[in-house]
């Protein structure tokens, strides 16, 4: 879009975000004041308007949903909790941690001792004023005897105590410069101390829960006077659970909902043409789709074989035919381009049958190789594996593809099969991403690649508070994984949200779709 006419048209029909428009206008040499004038005409108000009912249709819920934060695992409950509650730490659109109920923090050198300042004057929906004890309780429910998914990431906490009613001191068993990112985890929403009635959650969010039918619908009402300026703009919010993507799409087209998540990449190009709709695309921050080889199981102990497997996958073809182009190629490690520590100098690995054949020959492996895949890994894992098999064949490498049952896949195949399909979600910090997937103490190190140099690298980076030095360490770590590990990461998908044209404040976000699942808090109607 390099034509001013086209650009104006896009803005007037709501097909662009405000930020995109201004930066593109600037690239054309159009001054900000003129650009803002066009925006005002298009209804991009500078300050959000109040009122209306936001109706969302979302995938990622089930009849067994509960508002207990120890059970959150999918989008509907994450979005629902962020509608009526707040976290300790929030992320800005680039993915950097910023203050939420913890307003600010200080850290001592070594990154093991932290002091967090609780935001003052915040009231819960029951009238109680937020203090340090509430924050501590909300962290403690995820520690000790619990099945909370956040238990693992909080294990590094050695001591947690209230230094004053507005200060929380946390001591870690070893330093972690990314600790605020850990506290930004979506499970860590804040409720009053000793709160247990999860059917009627008490939070500090912009809305209060009106009704909840698990797997069907949640209704929220604005409770007035939200503490974040310009946010919490709707009178009420309705989150409907719509698992079927075709049902979500037709509900959006017929105007029964104002926004939805997870559009189908195969049909989204048609939706983009609909003048009443707007599609928000977040490039390459979604799931990382991989085939992982355990480097301790023969024949994958051979480094050249692993390289052959990486050069032998046709990433572009898989992205084009399976994801309709709505994904970016992975570079055989698990960071994406929106991570501040992403190695931008490392060349993207491409399909190269000659190199694959060369390394395969050098490896001299004659044992049969079998890749286990299943629609239980992810919906299109079998298609991806078959395309992989074809592209390897062109390099003279034979790979058997075995389709296994989706039931119990994570239990029986993953972490056990020598070569299998797996996807990984985004981790907010480089440390989390590397420690969970490649750490020598991680239960989930599915490649079993435990290179001591690498472990030392990420250990050093974890306690390093100088960002330039950390960057150098993480860049090297990515190169090591990509060149030596058993991780064939071929695609990182885009998030695709659909909105009616009148919704504003629906920019892409580095963490999750639907503007970090905080669309109810951030958006407004034009």
């Amino acid at each position: 879009m390099d034509n001013w006419e086209q650009l104006q048209q896009a803005a007037l029909t709501g097909r662009m975000t405000r930020r995109d428009f201004i930066s593109r206008a600037a690239a054309l040499g159009i001054g900000t004041s003129l650009a803002t004038g066009i925006l005002a005409k298009a209804g991009y108000a500078q300050t959000p308007k109040k009122g209306g009912t936001l109706r969302l249709g979302m995938e990622g819920g089930s009849p067994s949903d509960s508002l207990d934060p120890r059970t959150y695992a999918d989008s509907v409950m994450i979005a629902a909790s962020l509608t009526c509650m707040n976290c300790l730490i929030e992320f800005d659109s680039k993915g950097n941690p910023t203050g939420e109920l913890f307003e600010s923090w200080e850290v001592k050198p070594g990154a093991a001792e932290w002091v967090f300042n609780v935001r003052k004057g915040i009231k819960f929906s029951n009238g109680k004023t937020l203090d340090a004890e509430d924050c501590i309780y909300s962290i403690q429910i995820h520690r000790g005897e619990t099945k909370s998914p956040a238990k693992g990431i909080l294990a590094q906490i050695q001591e947690i105590k209230a230094l004053s009613p507005t200060q929380v001191g946390i001591t870690l068993s070893s330093g972690n410069a990314d600790f605020p990112v850990i506290l930004g985890d979506y499970h860590l929403v804040v409720v009053p101390k000793d709160f247990t009635d999860w059917q009627k959650p008490i939070g500090t969010g912009a809305y209060t829960l009106e009704s909840f039918e698990p797997g069907v619908r949640l209704v929220f009402k604005n409770r007035g006077d939200f503490w974040k300026p310009n946010r919490g703009n709707f009178d009420s919010v309705e989150i409907r659970n719509i698992q079927d993507v075709a049902a979500r799409t037709s509900a959006l087209q017929s105007g029964e909902i104002d926004g939805c998540n997870r559009l189908d990449a195969r049909t989204v190009k048609l939706l983009m043409k609909d003048p009443n709709l707007h599609v928000t695309r977040t490039k390459g921050t979604g799931n990382r789709f991989c085939f992982v080889a355990r480097v301790t199981d023969p024949p994958y102990t051979n480094k050249d074989l692993r390289l052959a497997l990486k050069y032998g996958i046709d990433r572009e073809k898989i992205i084009e035919s399976v994801y309709n182009g709505f994904a970016v190629p992975g570079n055989d490690h698990n960071l994406d381009a929106l991570n501040p520590f992403y190695n931008t100098k490392m060349p993207q690995r491409k399909y190269d049958p000659d190199k694959a054949a060369f390394h395969f020959k050098k490896a001299g492996v004659s044992a049969p190789m079998e890749l286990q895949t299943s629609d239980g890994a992810w919906g299109t894992a079998v298609d991806c594996a078959q395309l992989y098999q074809e592209s390897l064949k062109k390099a003279g490498i034979n790979l058997d593809v075995k389709k296994v049952s989706g039931d119990g896949y994570w239990d029986n195949v993953w972490l056990k099969a020598p070569f299998c399909a797996v996807y990984w979600g985004r981790r907010m910090s480089a440390d989390q991403a590397f420690t969970q997937v490649f750490g020598d103490k991680s239960d989930w190190n599915d490649t079993n690649w435990k290179d001591p140099t690498f472990q030392k690298l990420i250990g050093d980076a974890r306690v390093e508070t100088d960002n330039a030095k950390r960057k150098a360490l993480y860049w090297q770590a990515q190169e090591m994984i990509s060149d030596d590990g058993g991780f064939v990461c071929f695609a990182i998908t885009d998030y695709l949200d659909g909105y009616s044209k009148k919704v504003r404040g629906n920019e892409p976000h580095a963490r999750y779709d639907l503007n970090d699942n905080r669309i109810a808090e951030k958006a407004w109607f034009a």
Binding site: G57, S62, P63, S64, D65, S66, D68, T71, A73, E145, T146, K147, P149, K151, G152, S211, E213, P214, G215, V216, R217, R240, N241, I242, Q243, D244, A246, A247, S250, A251, Q253, S254, E256, I257, S405, D407, G408, W410, D411, N412, W414, V422, D443, W444
Partner: protein
């Protein structure tokens, strides 16, 4: 006759017991359990063991089965393993929704199918007979989700007469419900009509070749009168059985329709229970489904006896 009914009911209860054992055995031999299904990829051996112990999954299967069964016969289905909610409380509104949709579809489908079947039989071989046959067969030959999407495309997206989402909520009025659920009800009608229609037509026609029908014609009666007064009462038994089977299908077999129209019925509830290995939920749904089948079939048997004068007399 009373004896026949009692035997039917006892047989039904025994079937129910057998079904409960079968369902239990089936869920036991599936790979994975509720702990690994709920925790998913994020499971660690530590949290898995903790979760299993919390749910009592570390005890033998037959003990858990007996415990559940003794509670269930007292009407207590227990709490869901996943979210600890009482199953009966969460299942009741979903079952009511399912019954509403099934009843709605049946109210359109049964009179339509039987009526058109009789019309087809009266006009055997004429154009109306052929049209009715072709249309109903075409409707049953198309996959149900496809009919659903077609209806959504034309009546929700293009014309905007009906909503594409048929979700009903607890606070929704009756008239609104009828409007919202129209599209899935019509879809289901198209699915079940053909079966009942063809059965009505063929059983009426097979009676028509009997000697006493010939006698009735020879008396000079009209075709319509022969069919309604002489043929239909004797043809009723197989028609009632087919209607009962189709009603049972409307209750237990509509999970695809529920998904397409986002209808909060019991089918989705059970599918979710299966994917999460939530044993008590599967058991409860299985029992309800089996119960629905058995009640409808028993009713069909009893009705067939009542409408047929020859069966009505006790032997």
């Amino acid at each position: 006759m009373l004896r026949t009914i009692v035997i039917r009911v006892v047989l039904g209860l025994l079937t129910l017991l057998a079904v409960s054992i079968l369902i239990f055995a089936a869920t036991e031999i599936l790979p994975g359990d509720v702990a690994s299904a709920v925790l998913g990829q994020g499971a660690t051996p530590d949290t898995l063991a903790q979760f299993r112990h919390e749910l009592g999954l570390d005890r033998p299967g037959y003990i858990r089965y007996l415990e559940w069964f003794t509670h269930a016969i007292r009407g207590d289905f227990g709490a869901a393993l996943t979210n600890k909610r009482d199953i009966l409380t969460s299942m009741t509104p979903k079952f009511e929704n399912t019954m509403f949709l099934a009843g709605y579809a049946a109210l359109i489908a049964v009179p339509l199918a039987v009526g058109m079947g009789i019309v087809a039989a009266i006009n055997e071989g004429k154009w109306i007979d052929r049209v009715v046959n072709i249309v109903s067969l075409a409707a049953i030959s198309v996959p149900e989700f496809f009919i659903g999407y077609l209806l959504i495309f034309f009546f929700a997206v293009q014309l905007g007469w009906f909503p594409s989402l048929s979700t009903v909520f607890m606070d929704m009025g009756f008239a609104e419900r009828v409007h919202v659920v129209a599209l899935p009800a019509v879809t289901l009608t198209l699915l079940v009509t053909a079966h009942m229609l063809r059965m009505t037509r063929s059983s009426v026609l097979s009676i028509m070749s009997q000697p006493y029908i010939e006698m009735a014609f020879l008396k000079g009666l009209t075709r319509t009168r022969v069919i309604f007064v002489h043929a239909l009462p004797n043809a009723a038994a197989p028609i009632i059985t087919v209607i009962a089977l189709n009603l049972a299908y409307l209750i237990v077999g509509v999970v695809v329709i529920e998904t397409v129209f986002v209808y909060p019925g019991i089918g989705q509830f059970m599918v979710d229970g299966v994917t999460k290995r939530d044993l008590p939920v599967i058991q409860a749904c299985g029992l309800v489904f089996a119960g629905a089948f058995i009640i409808l079939n028993t009713t069909a048997d009893v009705l067939s006896i009542l409408v047929n004068p020859r069966l009505r007399k006790s032997r």
